[in-house]
Amino acid sequence: MGWEVVILMKKFKIFVNFDKEEKWLNEMARNGWQLKGKSTRYRFCKGEPEDTVIKVDYRVFNKRDAYEDYLMLFKDSGWEHICGNRSCGSQYFKRIDESSDSDIFSDLSSKAGRYKRLSNVWMSLAMCYLTIFISFCLSNTIDINALLHPKLLYYTPGLWERSGAAFWKAFLIETPIVLLRGFIWYLIPVFFIAFVIFALLSEKEYRKMKKVTIAK
């Protein structure tokens, strides 16, 4: 009975630029790391080094048949879908037909379009978080005053008047409880800001490419 050793590797990386992501994935493939999946992290499987072309498209599909039609079009034109699913957005393709073109886009404006779609998804996520945040504030689930003045989340009487060891002891004992009590709500605005930043970064890439298109 033969044994097959499968070596897996997970990597966490965030890209704002698709070209850089593609370059990195191609390099990984050249070193024998085959992309197997991507959720929060990239999953690679060790195999033969491969000189290939990996390209990323960004599209979210509402309907299953539309997604299938999309994948068939790529397959017909020589691109194997290596990872991605209907709702995750990022679709990874590997060139399987040497005679086919070396890109999944044949003009700059469609190449730029994926940044626009990505930016829209980040923006709508940000808006979701904003809505949640505002409705929590209005229903008093979140106390804005406490978020702006974290000291209010400490309930020990006279804590801030204490000093030295007496202060630190009480402070450190209560801090984990405070984290549970209030800081969890900080995550919502933090996520909101992060999503807006991602949206703006993609928008910037989009504008940059569009400019080149117009100049051409």
Binding site: K55, D65, L73, F74, D76, I104
Partner: protein, 113 residues
């Protein structure tokens, strides 16, 4: 000529509309466009998918029934044919005035500039 903000059509869109005079799925559109353009216009999958999506939204093409369950088949609509003809006439005018301005004396000449 009626002013239409979709005009002039891009070369890509023009060829796709022309190719869809008969029903075709994505890959067939690619092959037809390449053939119609004498190999000048080669569409990549991502670009074509976006173009189809846009043309559907504009109502210039429509999905039609097909035997193939996995590939969608499209056909030009009346609206699409209308815009194609408008662009055709626009280009015809350009050809006509270019020939006149440069003194090429009509299309039956094989004179070169």
């Amino acid at each position: 000529m009626k002013k239409n903000k979709e005009l002039p059509l891009t070369e890509t869109v023009y060829y796709i509309l022309l190719a869809l005079n008969e029903p075709a799925h994505g890959y067939l559109i690619m092959q037809k466009v390449e053939e119609l353009s004498d190999g000048q216009v080669r569409l990549a999958a991502g670009t074509l998918y976006g173009a189809i999506e846009n043309l559907l939204k504009l109502g210039f093409i429509m999905p039609v029934k097909s035997e193939d369950k996995r590939r969608k088949v499209y056909l030009i609509t009346d609206k699409g044919r209308e815009i194609l003809l408008l662009d055709y006439r626009r280009m015809q005018h350009i050809i006509k005035i270019t020939e006149r301005s440069l003194g090429m004396g009509g299309s039956d000449t094989d004179e070169e500039i």
